[in-house]
């Protein structure tokens, strides 16, 4: 380990002509972590567009009071499928996709620890998603059940029991998500095994990139959180088909039991969803500020702490179910406590920018908007954590605003920051910056126009998941504003889709290291060859390429 002497030049893969079926076969049969990563992310983006269109129809329905754009059953299916899709088929593949693509590259490995398990995970996940969507064709239900599931994304019992959800739509929800969960668990095991066993020489845990650290934490969370969900889905199927009574309140079952199972999964889940966003900006903010991450070890500690605390806050989703005052106070306390490590993260990102030289690329703009919007989401989260305030706010539009600030304003914006940052690595071409800025400004303004007013809708007593409302409740104007914002957001997303499609072919060639970055993925070609690195890299600090570029002032002197 005397020197860092891996080459920056790599032989590029020779372009050759393949027929369509050969190309298709190579993608279907691939076990390459990079291809699987891209397949995960592309699948996630496709589902994102589908679920986004669903959301637009819902906003059209709610733009004015007493609208009749869709039937009530249709609306209920729309918000169920929108939520289920966004959580399980958009957020989760982003986790798996980003960790698949980047973890081996960042730790100087050739592939994931279990490449075939990796491929299995992707295909099982996709199969689960298709099962869910097949409900639109396959699940003929009786009155009130209809085609797609209409029980809400957290599928509270006993609404899901046979007495209230006839037909098969709820079964498609339970089985589809159960199957997708198997794929997610496979991918999480793989990430942990890869990060633990396949780091290149010199890469101690303290030198492992923050991105990889966060992906390891999130993988542990997946391993702990998905099994309770799978368990309660199986219990639900036992209730529905084998005469069980776990959640069957008419036969003495417990409705609250489902909520405990679901949220023991569900609260870690929202941290699972936001982690790839945090991981992305933990790479982009330092690079575009031209400074190392401020308080790296505190960041790692905060991530691990969030991982632990997030397992103990689940019942803050249940303040209104009539728990004892003791339980309510406990879960209020643990919920507010999680604000501390979350605050540490925000402070560290800000301190990283402080005194730097901020390069305002599209990626960095998304990261900055992420910081501010995540701040809003965190603070409204504290308001919801205060149990008595939550008695008013829960299940209102305030909650809708809060979690969209978390999952769109924070997670999605951070993921876009990551996509603008790593797209050149994955394709060898830059995304267009002008289109990128159109994307950013329209999405940012549209997002806030849509979701900021929803906080006030909650204050004015508008419950979530209503398909219509009467005029005169004080909700008319705010709903119209929220719906107008959707049009603005849609323009931004169109600019993004066009940017991704056109840049793949006509984008400016990126070169290996367009951002003058510091982690190992930039030490190989763009796109990387199948084997990633010709020689196994050796690192001596958390910023190996910085050491290489600044031999007179390397990081390892200070770490």
């Amino acid at each position: 380990m005397s020197s860092i002497d891996f080459p920056l030049e790599f032989p590029h893969e020779k372009p050759s002509e393949f027929s369509f079926s050969e190309t298709l076969y190579s993608w279907v049969a691939t076990v390459d972590h990079k291809r699987l990563g891209l397949m995960y992310i592309t699948t996630g983006l496709l589902f994102f567009v589908i679920a986004g269109i669903m959301a637009s129809v819902m906003r059209l329905q709610l733009a004015f009071p007493n609208q009749h754009v869709v039937q009530p059953e249709t609306f209920n299916r729309l918000f169920t499928m929108h939520g289920t899709t966004m959580v399980f088929l958009v957020g989760m593949p982003f986790v798996a996709g980003f960790s698949n693509y980047l973890v081996p590259l960042m730790i100087g490995a050739r592939d994931m620890a279990f490449p075939r398990l990796n491929a299995f995970g992707f295909w099982v996940f996709l199969f689960g998603g298709l099962i869910l969507y097949f409900s639109y064709f396959g699940a003929n239900g009786l009155s009130g059940a209809g085609s797609a599931p209409d029980v809400g994304w957290f599928a509270y019992s006993p609404l899901t029991e046979r007495a209230f959800s006839r037909g098969a739509s709820t079964d498609y929800w339970a089985i589809g998500i159960f199957v997708a969960g198997i794929g997610t668990i496979a991918s999480a095991i793989n990430v942990i095994a890869t990060a633990v066993t396949m780091r290149c020489p010199g890469m101690t845990l303290s030198r492992m990139p923050l991105f990889v650290w966060m992906m390891v934490v999130v993988s542990w969370l997946i391993l702990l959180a998905i099994p309770p969900l799978s368990a309660c889905q199986i219990m639900l199927m036992i209730d529905r088909y084998l005469g069980g009574h776990f959640f069957d309140t008419q036969a003495g079952g417990s409705a609250v039991l489902w909520q405990h199972f679901f949220w023991i999964f569900g609260h870690p889940e929202v941290y699972i969803l936001i982690f790839p966003g945090w991981a992305s900006v933990s790479e982009t903010i330092p690079v575009f500020s031209r400074k190392p991450m401020f308080g790296r070890s505190a960041m790692v500690g905060a991530s691990v702490a969030i991982g632990f605390i997030s397992m103990s806050v689940w019942a803050h989703h249940m303040f209104a179910v009539g728990m004892t005052s003791m339980a309510n106070t406990f879960f209020a306390a643990s919920t507010m406590l999680i604000a501390v490590p979350t605050g540490i993260k925000i402070f560290n990102w800000t301190a990283t920018m402080w005194g730097g030289k901020l390069h305002m690329t599209t990626s960095m703009m998304f990261a900055c908007a992420f910081l501010l919007q995540f701040l809003v989401a965190g603070l409204t989260g504290i308001m919801l954590g205060v149990a008595p305030f939550d008695w008013q706010l829960t299940d209102s539009y305030f909650v809708v605003a809060h979690f969209h600030y978390t999952l769109v304003g924070a997670m999605l914006f951070a993921v876009f920051s990551g996509i603008y940052y790593w797209y050149p690595k994955a394709t060898g071409r830059m995304l267009n910056e002008t289109l990128g800025k159109i994307h950013f400004w329209f999405l940012c303004i549209g997002f806030n126009v849509t979701f900021l007013p929803m906080h006030w809708l909650g204050f004015l007593g508008m419950p979530r998941r209503i398909y219509t409302y009467a005029p005169g409740r004080g909700w008319d104007d705010l709903n119209l504003i929220a719906s107008i914002g959707v049009i603005v957001q849609a323009i931004g997303i169109l600019a993004f889709v066009w940017n991704v499609v056109r840049s793949a072919k006509w984008g400016k060639p990126a070169g290996d290291d367009p951002w003058d970055a510091w982690t190992l993925e930039w030490a190989t070609s763009s796109p990387p060859p199948e084997y990633n690195f010709e020689k196994v890299p050796v690192v001596r600090s958390s910023r190996p390429l910085w050491d290489l570029k600044h031999p007179q002032d390397p990081d390892w002197k200070y770490e």
Partner: protein, 335 residues
């Protein structure tokens, strides 16, 4: 003659309708306690937002790299333990203060002992309407909860017992109290003490199926004497029609399957699936708040509820025009 007229005018003077259920205009103790706490919480979070958001925006503007500026890298700062400790400890102190206040308010609202003389009502959630029972008075009504106001000694809060016949619902009237879920096979409680007479609007706040949106809720807060009048009136059995045409109308109603689901106390109708109709005409709305209770609306509702509230449990009974006329005429006598 003067006194009855004055009485009639007083009775007819409409209660203030609080259609906009603004949780920041609380008019009962539980909502007010939460409101006070929320002001504190929002003050703290707003302060944090201004300080941290200000620093972020300042950093974005101040430390922007200018095109053609100094190409050198900025000083590489790796962190500072003192700073990390500072921004760990200060939030911990804020959080501890908040937890303390929260614990006090939780106990204050939730563990409120029931004073002697409290009014009791049982709220029963149904897909998609509310049943209200007053066990002390033997009254059953629907969708509009009548409670007395509480302004001084001798006036009593209302303690609610929450039950559900089917799935989970949630009782939420923002100006009076936070929501409490209405869960089958479980008994929850909450209490209200409205300060001002008025009609307070609310909604079912837990998704409960197709018509969750139209499971609306009104709390009618009355002065104790008006409430006592209402109780006395509701205790009565349904008036027996004397007019021969209305008698015929009642016979039609009793022979149709209306009575399989609905009850009219003092008649053969004692179904328990749908709302009790004994004093339907004293209620402001039909269909759990989906429309005003006018003769025309009532007729349209009975004719085909599925057109007005698609998916609701009441079927289109395919009544002939004559039957429809008779049923509406009879129900209009249920004052």
């Amino acid at each position: 003659m003067i006194q009855p007229v004055a009485f009639l005018q007083a009775a007819a003077s409409p209660l203030v309708e609080h259609r906009v259920a603004d949780m920041f205009k609380p008019l009962a103790t539980p909502a007010h306690t939460v409101f006070d706490l929320s002001l504190l919480v929002m003050g703290i979070t707003a302060g944090i937002f201004v300080v941290v958001g200000g620093l972020i925006i300042y950093a974005i503007i101040r430390f922007r790299h200018k095109e053609g500026g100094d190409p050198d890298e900025p000083p590489q700062i790796y962190g500072s333990n003192q700073i990390e400790v500072a921004w760990t400890v200060i939030p911990i102190l804020i959080v501890f203060a908040l937890i303390g206040v929260t614990a006090r308010v939780v106990a204050g609202v939730q563990d409120q002992a029931e004073p002697p003389g409290a009014i009791h009502a049982t709220v029963i959630g149904h897909q998609w309407w509310w049943e209200f029972r007053y066990p002390d008075y033997g009254i059953v009504t629907a969708n509009e909860l009548h409670v007395p106001i509480t302004t001084g000694p001798g006036e009593h809060p209302t303690f609610l017992k929450l039950e559900s016949r089917d799935v989970i619902h949630s009782f939420w009237v923002p100006q009076l109290a936070g929501k409490t879920d209405v869960i089958p096979n479980r008994e929850n409680t909450m209490w209200l003490d409205p300060r001002e007479p008025g009609i307070y609007f609310g909604n079912c706040a837990e998704y409960c199926g197709t018509q969750h949106a139209n499971m609306l809720l009104r709390v009618v807060a009355q002065t104790p004497s008006d409430f006592a009048d209402w109780v006395a009136q509701q205790k009565q059995r349904a008036a027996v029609p004397t007019d021969p045409q209305l008698k015929q109308a009642q016979r039609t109603f009793d022979r149709l399957s209306c009575i399989a689901c609905h009850a009219v106390r003092g008649t053969p109708a004692f179904g328990v699936v749908g709302p009790d109709l004994t004093h339907l005409m004293s209620r402001q709305t039909i269909g759990a708040g989906v429309m005003e209770n006018t003769p025309a609306n009532l007729r349209a509702w009975i004719d085909n509820p599925q057109a007005i509230k698609p998916g609701c449990e009441m079927p289109d009974m395919k009544l002939s025009d004559q039957q429809l006329d008779q049923v509406v005429a009879y129900i209009e006598t249920l004052k």
